[in-house]
């Protein structure tokens, strides 16, 4: 199970990468492993307003459906439409090609409430 440094993490097993003026969001290695083979991703709508901790996307695996909770408040400015044809990217490369969507933050201060890599790993170990 990998937990890259430099990302922020939620207790719902999303990761957040801070970029210029926006954040990119996906699910963690732990989450993809627990889900099993991902076969479909219901992406959020471009331009959608999102509120922290609200359900924003759905991931279907061969086992079940899981909701993706948006860890921050803001506006969806990009979605990874490559997942429409290759949802398995979430299993193969959860922190890279498996990114799900990007959000323009309403309040950068919300990032302070998220975990760093060490704290997320400690949370997983609980």
């Amino acid at each position: 199970m990998t937990t890259p440094e430099g990302l922020r993490y939620s207790k719902e097993h999303e990761w957040v990468r801070v970029e210029e003026g926006r954040v990119v969001i996906g699910i963690t290695d732990y989450a993809q492993d627990a889900l099993g083979d991902v076969v479909y991703v219901e992406l959020p709508d471009m331009g959608a307003a999102v509120v922290a901790n609200a359900s924003i996307a759905e991931i279907e695996s061969t086992k079940s459906v899981s909701e993706v909770y948006c860890p921050v408040t803001g506006t969806v400015v990009e979605v990874n439409s490559a997942l429409d044809d290759t949802p398995e990217a979430i299993n193969e490369d959860p922190y890279g090609r498996g990114w799900i969507f990007a959000v323009e933050l309403a309040d950068a201060g919300e990032l302070e409430g998220l975990l760093d890599a060490a704290a997320y790993e400690a949370f997983l170990a609980e």
Binding site: G36, D37, Y40, E60, T62, V65, N91
Partner: protein
């Protein structure tokens, strides 16, 4: 998948330690702690369609029915006609509820020898089947014993199953489709049947507890891929095979499930016959159908099926088909809906277009 009904500790397969060593993910299934996957459901599924896989299906029940009254008991209890086969053959059959003819369980009977049968119910139904058989037994010319704890059952399936398994045991690999034979492996007697639940060729081995890990390892050494119950479920769905608790169970008769061929009216009396005959005379009010879904999003059990905006039925099982690379489902629909009819499936508020078809989805 069928939810567990037992509240006690989970039962473990004789192969439990072997699975853990292989890195399997184990989940609770029918009261057992069983592997749902090893490398992943999709890769295991595709291995079964193109190569060969082995499943641990020790969670199925094994009832040994022995004695001069065994044939008559099973003939009276189950819907299919054992008179159409003979010792050394296997048969798929149903046990019906005597009051409303719902399918209490779907079962494979292995007719091992003249007065000896292995009856294999679904895991969580085993106790119920024992009780039903005991209530149908009229004489003491038959003994019913639950031998589930004494053995493992390994299913070897796929187009290369026989070829690869022949390096382990030529005799096992040679058991024909729906035949049953006793086979000795390294001095231990096993029972082998040319049966399975994937739509592929292959066989299933009933192997004594102590020898099961060695036999499993021998299959692995023969380059047979371990596969879990996750792939077994997607395989059976592609093959259009029913799963008890979804396509069969409370409120569902064999006629509704499209399995009228499992019921042999000309064999005489059987449990549930009168109730089923009444439904046959009146006509079924719903029938199990296949749905070819547009796109990858899997419908799940319980999703509504609509025609022209009106709810007409319900999905019983649905998933992504790893071979077709789109979603498929089984659903109960009104009997007059024709193959090729356009429907919509309500998946949490999204309407997925689908077309009614006759399973199997993959041949």
């Amino acid at each position: 998948m069928t939810a567990a009904e037992s509240a006690g500790p989970l039962r473990r397969s004789p192969l439990d330690a072997v699975h853990r060593n292989l890195g399997a993910k184990l989940v609770e299934f029918g009261g057992w702690d069983m592997p749902i996957q090893y490398a992943g459901v999709l890769v295991e599924h595709r291995a079964c369609r193109t190569d060969a896989v082995a499943f641990d299906v020790s969670h199925l029940g094994s009832l040994r029915i022995v004695g001069p009254g065994a044939f008559d008991l099973l003939q009276r209890a189950f819907t299919n006609d054992l008179g159409r086969i003979a010792a050394g053959r296997a048969q798929y059959t149903h046990l019906l509820d005597p009051t409303d003819a719902h399918v209490e369980d779907d079962i494979i009977v292995w007719w091992v020898a003249d007065d000896e049968f292995l009856v294999m119910p679904n895991a969580s139904n085993t106790d119920r089947i024992v009780a039903a058989l005991q209530s149908e037994a009229t004489a003491d010319a038959v003994s019913i014993s639950d031998v589930t704890a004494e053995r493992a059952v390994i299913a070897v399936q796929g187009p290369r199953a026989r070829e690869l398994a022949a390096t382990v045991s030529p005799a096992m690999a040679a058991v024909p489709r729906f035949a049953v034979a006793r086979v000795e492996w390294q001095g231990t007697e096993c029972v082998v049947a040319g049966t399975g639940y994937t739509g592929e060729d292959g066989f299933e081995v009933h192997v004594p507890f102590a020898v099961a890990p060695a036999l499993w390892r021998a299959f692995m050494a023969a380059d047979i891929t371990p596969a879990g119950l996750g792939a077994r479920d997607t395989l059976r769905l592609e093959a259009g095979l029913p799963l008890h608790g979804h396509e069969l169970g409370e409120g569902i008769t064999p006629l509704q499930a499209g399995l009228g061929w499992v019921v042999r009216w000309d064999k005489g009396e059987f449990r549930g016959r009168d109730a089923l005959a009444a439904e046959k005379a009146a006509g079924v009010t719903r029938r199990l159908r296949g749905l070819v879904v547009e796109g990858r999003r899997p419908p799940r059990a319980g999703c509504s099926v609509l025609i022209d905006g009106a709810v007409v039925g319900e999905v019983t099982s649905g998933n992504f088909s790893p071979i077709l690379e789109h979603a498929i489902a089984l659903a109960f629909l009104p009997p007059d809906v024709e193959d090729g009819a356009a429907v919509a499936i309500d998946v949490r508020g999204s309407l997925l277009p689908a077309v009614v078809t006759k399973p199997p989805f993959v041949r």
